[in-house]
């Protein structure tokens, strides 16, 4: 059964095992490696992508449910929120090991698209599904606020 979806604006047809999580289609099939594997059970957020504009943990999303969906990975991010977030991220050097940061950026961009001026509580709610073992949280919070000013 071939599944058709759009990834970063390009239409993609895949005939992998339909139970394959979207994460492994993105990585193994499409070689888009910005999206990371961290837990495989929707606990860490390293695999966060946007599906039809909403954040989604791609590690627990079987590709069979993605028929016709628009998927955006960090490689396909664009728009004023995305550039403001990435500029803010480098501006105060958020990343340490960097492994979680694609997921953090994806969640932050989705937040700013919905809530242009997020409060601390908004940030907590939007970001608490993204673990950072390096605990860069102080800077993540600051960078989101800096980006909000920029947008």
């Amino acid at each position: 059964m071939a599944i058709e979806l759009t990834v970063n604006g390009k239409s993609v047809k895949t005939d992998v095992d339909p139970d394959t999580p979207l994460l492994w289609v993105i990585r193994d099939e499409m070689k888009l490696t910005g999206t990371k594997f961290g837990c495989g059970m929707a606990q860490c957020g390293a695999c966060t992508v946007h599906v039809n504009g909403e954040t989604r943990r791609s590690c627990v999303t079987p590709v069979k449910f993605m028929e016709g969906s628009e998927v955006t990975t960090i490689e396909g991010l664009e728009g004023k929120e995305a550039s403001a977030v990435q500029k803010a991220w480098t501006g105060i050097d958020v990343p340490q090991c960097g492994y979680c940061q694609s997921g953090q950026v994806m969640s932050a961009v989705a937040l700013l698209k919905k809530v242009p001026n997020p409060s601390d509580e908004d940030i907590d709610t939007a970001m608490n599904g993204n673990i950072c073992r390096c605990a860069t949280y102080v800077r993540i919070r600051q960078a989101i606020k800096n980006a909000a000013k920029e947008v």
């Binding site: 992998v16 095992d17 139970d19 394959t20 999580p21 492994w24 990585r27 193994d28 099939e29 070689k31 490696t33 910005g34 999206t35 990371k36 594997f37 961290g38 837990c39 495989g40 059970m41 606990q43 860490c44 390293a46 990975t73 960090i74 490689e75 990435q86 991220w89 480098t90 050097d93 958020v94 990343p95 340490q96 090991c97 960097g98 492994y99 979680c100 940061q101 694609s102 950026v105 940030i123 907590d124 970001m127 608490n128 599904g129 993204n130 673990i131 950072c132 073992r133 390096c134 605990a135 860069t136 949280y137 102080v138 800077r139 993540i140 919070r141």
Partner: protein
């Protein structure tokens, strides 16, 4: 291609003798001297200057978040008078003759030594390169070298000017100076000032390449199933159903367990679930946590091997008891902790046409990984290229003295026939259940403090697993230095002191975990002192000040108390807790402001004063303190690996092995004490004080002493 050089190593070791290291390192010095003296000017070791004017540093230290890439580039750029934008960094290849850690004697990163071990070496490398560029310009322009200046990456002499790139080729033909002159501190432009980190952009855009991101042509993906009890072995297996999964190529058994090799990750994972495995527990560690806990608790209750003694603590305590002085007796328990690095362990192996092999992995002790790969593959080390990759965190996890992961990856690759490249990856479950934990530690302390705050006697016994016994890091010492670091020579005045230790042998593999022994020794010392001062009605800061011996330790404590405005009037629902501790040569004091919310501690803010010698990049120092606090805080509040029936690990993923999340992260304010001393560690010293600072604040809130960690544990399993 213009090139440069490697400076003389003379003077490098001399500058580092005063360091206190977290790791016991028997190889220190000897090997590196023996091997480099035959080849002291190996070209291209640390710096490459290309005609396109980029300056690339070959980093002998792995970058997994602690900032050595930026730090090493800062040191070289300083002496080279480079422009920050022209600096690049790559990992150096595995080659102990060129890239040994000058403090270890092997190529490796750890013990927060990246800057300490590189400060002189990398500055010399930069100064040597600069001298050669200047000499090349002087010859080209017919001028004296002394008439030539360098700034912001441009070499100038009267009306002439050239970039490094333009001079690179000529410079490569110049004889390197024997003792290049290093700058005086007053002339520093880079060292001690903030610079953007060299890897932030690629890590914010998803383009940084980790081991898991490698997709070699025709590559297989391998995942493994491990015995449920440590030391178990495979008795029998039925893999028929697993082999029927589409995409599965092979299933192999190796000493570590069973591996599925497949065309893609999902097929490998799916097949692994279908394996029917029977494990033998012969020789395995099958005791559960309750039994193991008792073992360590009982051990700490008996006198161990004497590790330190000043005066006579027994006599002093007896006298104090007679006088009716307050005697404080306490027991502490610290559980197993997993590192839970964000990127689970992984490696990619590939055989080239000529039969040589490339291995890509987050190798932290390259020399040991390299040797292990060669031994398991049955190949000569010179035919294996070990390529160090960026890694998604380590916190000690990648610094395995047993190279167990390299060994497992190599065994699977070999069993696969080595015809196709293999990416071997652990899943989170392999990681959480996989051992190599911060070992259990127990302490028993008996101490007396009088009304003036003097410590009249101090007896302490610690029980834990040795981290080095039977590894290349084994010094043969009766007591592993890593279990008593931070308390062997108490930093408080205690004329009558005795410390004993038990190295308890169990079958769960232990490993260093960010700040190693200090994770428990600092906690015990700082909560004991705080409780005793409180009991005597003495101030937690001034009481410590009286007892501290080292002026640098006093300075960080004074500074943090000032930052937190420690004596201010507080909302009664909030309390401050303080702790101070030196580790890896670095002095660190913290104050935490804490309240209880819905029966759960809430840490509002942490102030930290740190003295790590000459600051190299303050931005990186602040980041490491922030990260070190967050990492320690999550563990102290929530984390514990437990073993259930038959010795099986109970936890498996982030739902039951909790990580701190963003809403639990306190605000953090850091002050860096300026210093002319050589730089010391920064990756770890932020971690030890946070636990006791919180415990002390909580006790001042409601009187509860937190002597058994974690403080909350799984009563709050998800926390979001």
């Amino acid at each position: 291609m213009g090139t440069v050089f490697n400076p003389s190593r003379r003077g490098v070791l001399a500058g580092s003798g005063a360091l206190v290291l977290g790791l016991a390192l028997p190889l220190k010095g000897k090997k590196v001297l023996a091997q480099t003296s035959s080849n002291p000017f190996a070209p291209n070791a640390f710096i490459r200057i290309a005609p396109d004017n980029t300056v690339t540093i070959l980093s002998k230290h792995i970058e997994f978040g602690q900032g050595p890439w930026t730090g090493l580039a800062t040191l070289v750029a300083e002496e080279l008078d480079a422009d920050w934008d022209q600096m690049r960094v790559e990992h150096a290849p595995a080659d102990v003759t060129k890239y040994a850690n000058v403090l270890f004697g092997v190529q490796g990163t750890g013990g927060s030594t990246a800057m300490a071990s590189s400060y002189t070496q990398m500055r010399q490398a930069g100064a040597t390169a600069r001298a050669m560029l200047v000499q090349a310009a002087a010859e080209k322009w017919g001028m004296k070298p002394s008439a030539i200046t360098v700034s912001d990456g441009i070499v100038r002499g009267s009306s002439n000017s050239a970039t490094f790139g333009e001079l690179a080729e000529a410079a490569s033909k110049i004889e390197p100076p024997v003792e290049p002159t290093l700058k005086a501190k007053k002339d520093f432009k880079f060292i001690g000032t903030d610079r953007p980190k060299i890897d932030s952009l690629r890590k914010s855009t998803g383009t940084a390449e980790f081991t898991i991101d490698l997709y070699r042509p025709n590559m297989l993906v391998a995942v493994a199933a491990h015995p449920p009890a440590f030391g178990g072995t495979l008795a029998s297996m039925d893999d028929r159903e697993a082999r029927n999964v589409k995409g599965v190529v092979d299933i192999v058994t190796v000493p570590q367990g069973v591996a599925v090799l497949a065309e893609n990750t999902f097929a490998a994972l799916k097949a692994r679930d279908k394996l029917v495995l029977n494990w033998s527990d012969d020789g395995a560690e099958t005791r559960d946590s309750a039994a193991l806990r008792q073992l360590f608790v009982d051990a700490a209750r008996t006198d161990g091997i004497e590790a330190a003694k000043t005066g006579d603590a027994a006599v002093a305590l007896a006298a104090a008891e007679e006088d009716g002085t307050f005697i404080h007796e306490a027991e502490f328990y610290f559980p197993f902790l997993a590192h839970a690095t964000m990127e689970p362990l992984d490696a990619v192996l590939e055989r080239a046409e000529d039969g040589s092999v490339d291995v890509w992995m987050g190798s932290q002790i390259q020399t040991i990984d390299h040797g292990t790969l060669a031994a398991v593959l049955g190949m000569d080390q010179s035919n294996i290229r070990l390529n160090t990759m960026l890694a998604g965190g380590s916190f000690g996890r990648l610094a395995t003295p047993t190279a167990h992961f390299a060994a497992e990856a190599a065994a699977i690759f070999k069993a696969s026939g080595m015809d196709r490249p293999v990416k071997f990856m652990w899943t989170r479950t392999n990681d959480i259940k996989g051992g190599y934990y911060r070992p259990i530690a127990t302490h028993k302390v008996r101490a007396a403090m009088d009304r003036s705050g003097d410590i009249l006697g101090w007896e302490q016994t610690v029980a834990s697993q040795s981290l080095t016994k039977g590894t290349p890091f084994d010094t043969g010492a009766e007591v592993d230095a890593t279990m008593i670091e931070g308390i062997k020579e108490p930093y408080y005045e205690m004329p009558d002191h005795r410390l004993t230790a038990h190295m308890v042998d169990i079958g769960v593999p232990p490993l260093w975990w960010r700040s190693v022994g200090h994770t428990h020794t600092a906690y015990v010392m700082e909560t004991m002192i705080d409780e005793m001062l409180e009991k005597q009605g003495l101030h937690p800061v001034s009481g410590r000040m009286r007892l501290l011996k080292d002026p640098r330790e006093k300075a960080v404590l004074a500074r943090v108390a000032e930052m937190a405005n420690f004596n201010r009037k507080m909302n009664p629902e909030r309390k401050l807790g303080v702790a101070v501790h030196k580790s890896f040569g670095t002095y660190c004091a913290q104050v935490a402001e804490v309240s209880m919310k819905n029966g759960k501690p809430k840490v509002h803010k942490v102030w930290c004063a740190v003295d790590c010698g000459q600051p190299i990049n303050p931005n990186v120092i602040r980041a490491q303190i922030e990260g070190g606090i967050g990492y320690g805080l999550g563990a102290v509040l929530f984390d514990e690996i437990t073993l259930g029936q038959g010795g099986k690990v109970d936890q498996s993923n982030f739902h039951d092995y909790r990580s701190l999340r963003i809403h639990e992260m306190p605000q953090i304010e850091v002050a860096i004490i300026d210093s002319d001393e050589n730089p010391t560690g920064i990756g770890e010293p932020g971690t030890p004080p946070i636990g006791p600072a919180i415990a002390n604040a909580l006790r001042r809130l409601d009187g509860t002493r937190h002597h058994n960690l974690p403080i909350i544990g799984l009563n709050d399993p998800v926390g979001v």
